[in-house]
Amino acid sequence: MADIAGHPGAELDGPAEPGRRDFLYLATGAVGVAGVAAVAWPLIDQLNPAADTLALASIEYDISKVALGQEVTIAWRKSPVFIRHRTPAEIAAAKADDHAPMKDPATDASRVKPGHEEWLIVSASCTHLGCVPTFKGGEYHGWMCPCHGSVYDTAARIRKGPAPKNLYLIPYEFLSPTKVKIG
C-alpha cells in the first residue's frame, strides 16, 4: 500500500502510513471477491447432478434369470452393470491367476461376496474411457473393450490394454439366494 503516497490527496494525510482509506480499499476488495465467488459458485454447481438424478435409486434384480455361463447388462443410475453367472472353470481360471502380475492386483475372493462366488456383479463401464466391454472377448475370456482393446479376465481384472483399473465394484447385497439389491 506504499503506492498510496502517489495518490491525489495523499500529501494531506502525511507520510504513507496505512490509514482509514487503505482499510476501505482492502475491505471493499475483499467483499467484492467474496461476492464474485458467491455468484460464480451457483453458476458452476448447476452443472452438477440435479436432486432428482442424485436421488440414489436402488434396484432389485432376480438373478435366477441368468443361466450358468451367461451374463446380463442392466442399468443402475443410468450406467450399465454386469451380472455374470460364472462357471466353475471360469472361477478356477480367475483364482489360478490371483498372484499373476497385474496392473491393479486383486484376488478373486475380493471381487465377489463370500458364498456367492459364482456371481460377479461389477460396473460395466471400461475404466479407460467408459465403453461397455464385450462378453467373453480377449484371451482371458472375461471381457474385451471394443474401443481401445482393454482385456479383462473372468474376475473383471484388467490384464492388458490401456485401462488403468479393474472394472469397479458396486454396492450390492443378496436379499435371497435368487435376488440382489443394487445400490
Binding site: 447432478p49 438424478t53 442399468a75 443410468k78 450406467s79 474411457l129 464385450t134 474401443c147 482393446g149
Partner: protein, 440 residues
C-alpha cells in the same frame, strides 16, 4: 485497423454526416482497399473459404435449432423423423450442416498447412497464428458437441469416450466428469448443455475470427516467397483482385461441397448413428469423425491413460508453440529444400495417424501376420504404426524444426516478392511479356 492510410472520400452529404459520427463506410472501404501482396496463390483463398463455411454453418444451424428437440427422449426422433422427413427441405439443411462440418475442417487443414509451408506463423505474425490455433480448438469443441446432438449410438459413445478423457486426471478427474455430465453417465442433461454450448461457440468463433482478421491487417499478408512487402508496387488492392480470386475459389469449393450434399450425403457419417443412443451397448467399432482421427490415434498409441490424454493435448500444444520452436530466418519453404522434405513427411505422418485412428488397434498394416510381438502388439499392427507416426509428429516440432533452422542450407531469397513471378515460368525470358508491368 491497418497501417495503410485511409483513401476513403465521402461522396455525399449523408456519407460526410455519417463519417464524422460512425465511420463504418470508411471501415469497409479501407478493408477493400487493403494492400495485399500481388503474388498470393490459390492456397491463400482458404481464409475466404473458411469465412464462407462459418457463415453456412451458422445459418443452417440456426434453422436446424428451430426444429430440434434437445432432450434425451426427443432428440433422435426430432432429427431422424422431423428434420430428415417431415420438415420442408429439412434433409437439405441438415445435409449442408452435417457435411459442412467436414468441408470446414478440410478447408482449415489446408489453411493450416499453407501457413506452416510458407512460414506464416513467424514474426511478426505470431498473434495471428495463435488466434488461428484458438479458432481451430474452438472448432473441434463445437464439432464434437454438434456430433452428439443427433443422439445416435456414435453420438452417445463418442460423447462418453471423449468426456471420460477428463477422468484420466488424478483427484479432480472424476468430479470434473460428473460436473460435465450432470449425472453419473452421459444422459439427457449432458445433451442439453452440449446443445446450449454448440449454439454459443460458433459466435465465439466469429468473434475470434474478427480478431484474427485484425491481427492479419496489422502486419499484412505473408506471401509464397515469405519476403516482406517492400513498396507499393508489390501490392494490389484487396478489391477487386482478391475478392474475385476468393469468390472463384469459393465457387469451386461449393461444387465439391454440393457433390457431398447431393450425391454422398452419408459418406462422412457412420451407419450406427442411425440407431438411437443405448447406454447399455457399445457399438463394435467406434471411431470419431475423420477430422479428429489423427488425435484419436495418438491417444490410443500411448498405453497409459493419463499419458495418452496428455499426448493428445500435447499434439495441439505443438501447433501453438510453433512460432517459438522454429529457428529459421527464412520464412517460406520454397527456399528451404530440406525443411520441405521434413514437412512433407510430417504431413504424411498426420495422414498415417488419421488412417490408424480409423482402424482397430490390432489391425494389420501390411497383409500377412502381425509379426513378432514388441511389448504388447505385433510390429505389423496399427498400434505400432501409430507409435512411429506419433514419435515423428512430436520429433518434427521438438527436434527437427528447431535444429534444422540453425543448420540447413537455404536457397538465395529473391530481391522482392515480385521477382520470381517475372521469372516464372522459366521458359519465358525475363522481361519479355512482363516487362511493361515493371516499368513503374
Amino acid at each position: 485497423m491497418s497501417e495503410h492510410t485511409s483513401t476513403y472520400q465521402p461522396k455525399s452529404a449523408i456519407e460526410r454526416w455519417l463519417d464524422s459520427r460512425l465511420p463504418i463506410v470508411r471501415f469497409g472501404a479501407d478493408l477493400m482497399e487493403f494492400p495485399t501482396p500481388r503474388n498470393l496463390n490459390y492456397w491463400y483463398t482458404f481464409g475466404g473459404i473458411l469465412a464462407f463455411c462459418l457463415m453456412v454453418q451458422i445459418i443452417t444451424g440456426i434453422i436446424l435449432a428451430m426444429h430440434y428437440d434437445a432432450s434425451g427422449a426427443g432428440a433422435f426422433i426430432s432429427v431422424q423423423r422431423s428434420i430428415m422427413r417431415d420438415v420442408n427441405y429439412g434433409w437439405l439443411i441438415r445435409g449442408i450442416h452435417a457435411n459442412g462440418a467436414s468441408m470446414f475442417f478440410l478447408a482449415v487443414y489446408l489453411h493450416i498447412a499453407r501457413g506452416m509451408y510458407y512460414g506464416s506463423y513467424k514474426a511478426p505474425r505470431e498473434v495471428l497464428w495463435l488466434l488461428g490455433c484458438v479458432i481451430y480448438v474452438l472448432m473441434m469443441a463445437t464439432a464434437f458437441m454438434g456430433y452428439v446432438l443427433p443422439w445416435g449410438q456414435m453420438s452417445f459413445w463418442g460423447a462418453k469416450v471423449i468426456t471420460s478423457l477428463l477422468g484420466a486426471f488424478p483427484v479432480i478427474g472424476p468430479p470434473l466428469t460428473t460436473l460435465l455430465w450432470g449425472g453419473f453417465a452421459v444422459d439427457s442433461p449432458t445433451l442439453n448443455r452440449f446443445f446450449s454450448l454448440h449454439y454459443l461457440l460458433p459466435f465465439v468463433i466469429a468473434a475470434v475470427v474478427a480478431l484474427h482478421v485484425w491481427a492479419l491487417h496489422v502486419p499484412g499478408n505473408n506471401n509464397p516467397t515469405g519476403v516482406n512487402v517492400k513498396s507499393k508496387s508489390d501490392t494490389l488492392p484487396f478489391h477487386p483482385y482478391y475478392t474475385v480470386k476468393d469468390l472463384f475459389a469459393i465457387l469451386v469449393f461449393t461444387i465439391v461441397f454440393a457433390v457431398f450434399v447431393f450425391y454422398l450425403p452419408d459418406a462422412m457419417g457412420k451407419v450406427d448413428n442411425n440407431i438411437e443412443a443405448n447406454p447399455l451397448v457399445t457399438p463394435a467399432h467406434i471411431v470419431p469423425e475423420w477430422y479428429l482421427l489423427p488425435f484419436y490415434a495418438i491417444l490410443r498409441a500411448i498405453p497409459d491413460k493419463l499419458m495418452g490424454v496428455l499426448g493428445l493435448a500435447g499434439a495441439l500444444a505443438m501447433l501453438f508453440a510453433l512460432p517459438w520452436l522454429d529457428t529459421s530466418k527464412v520464412r517460406s519453404m520454397r527456399y528451404r529444400p530440406t525443411a520441405r522434405i521434413f514437412f512433407l513427411v510430417w504431413v504424411a505422418s498426420v495422414m498415417a495417424l488419421g488412417w490408424c485412428g480409423s482402424q482397430e488397434p490390432d489391425g494389420l498394416v501390411f497383409p500377412g501376420g502381425p509379426g513378432p510381438v514388441l511389448i504388447d502388439y505385433g510390429i505389423n499392427t496399427v498400434t505400432w504404426l501409430s507409435r512411429i507416426a506419433t514419435t515423428y509428429y512430436f520429433a518434427y516440432f521438438l527436434v527437427i524444426v528447431p535444429v534444422l533452422g540453425l543448420r540447413e542450407r537455404t536457397l538465395p531469397l529473391p530481391d522482392s516478392l515480385y521477382t520470381p513471378v517475372l521469372a516464372h515460368p522459366p521458359g519465358i525470358p525475363v522481361g519479355a511479356a512482363a516487362a511493361p508491368e515493371t516499368q513503374g
